[in-house]
Amino acid sequence: MLRNTAQAWGSVAKVLHWSMLGLIVVQVSLGWAADLWHLSPTKIELFIWHKSTGILLLLLAVLRIGWRLCNPAPQPPDGLPRWERAAGIATHVVLYVLIVAIPLSGWVINSAANIPLNVFWLFPLPDITAPSKPLANLAARVHFGLYIAVSGVLCLHVAAALRHHFIRRNDVLVRMLPGGRP
């Protein structure tokens, strides 16, 4: 089943969810490695991988939000307190905003620093801003700030999923697992 139903996530939503998790883990590692490496061809290659993966994640994020908008999301379990329901909605909205904003802020850094980028060595990425060192510095701070923010929100997201599973004993976690039934 590709599409979501009122009770279950479809396979498209699951593939997007878990592939993005895997890519985000790779992406964070690449980002740290590229940042800490000494200036060398390897550093440039790490950055090309990081930036290319970022553009892929941006594409997936846009597809995911589009898919979410034209698909009903499964209903939250019955009997959930109003604050938990509200917290769940807020967390997901913030996550959706961040998975778009983080790659975009990276794209701004790259454009403002005016570094050429051949995405996955395949096609050149157009610039979205004019060259500007102050803008590149500002975007770099925003990029790092958003990374800290998404790390916090993801911790919250995981903690909430585990709470649903082990404390509330509902199907919120299981229904997102591959092969998990509602």
Binding site: P41, T42, N114, I115, P131
Partner: protein
Amino acid sequence: MNIVRRALFVLSLFAVSTVGAAEWKMLPQGSRLGFFITYAGQEAPGLFHRFATELQFDPSAPAGGRLVVTVTVPSADLDSEDINAAIAGPEWFDFERFAEARFVSESIVGAGDGHFIATGPLRLKGIERVIEVPFSWSEAGGLAHMRGELTLQRTAFGIGTGEWAGSDVIGRKVRVRFDVALQRVHE
């Protein structure tokens, strides 16, 4: 006597050929010396803001001409503060030790249809290599343009040393493109 006469005749040929070539002055406003590096296979344009061209040249007698180009290497600009800072260092251009690059032609020959080839040593980052500089010549009313393009191997001049020499992340070939505006100097 015969030998002396012959020597004088040969000398006079030289004298005629250099005196005969017109003197040209570069017009900096209309002149550009650009280059293209590749960054992971993608071309990025750069520019030397400051360079000077000395030229004695007559397209009908190119052999008597002489071209000298002097480049202020620290005026290199890739339109990125980060990259500009990186290329200043000893692994790349080493601005501090090698602020000037110079090409001096040893011969200029016609290549047909308004095209010429100047050959001579280019001294860049302290390394001298003979290169060919092909150019086209267009002239009207005492003003002229010489335009051309050539490809250099950066590693032949020790530009990009250490790990950079063995890597093609920053391509080893650099395309150089110039368009020099010139004005005939009246004697």
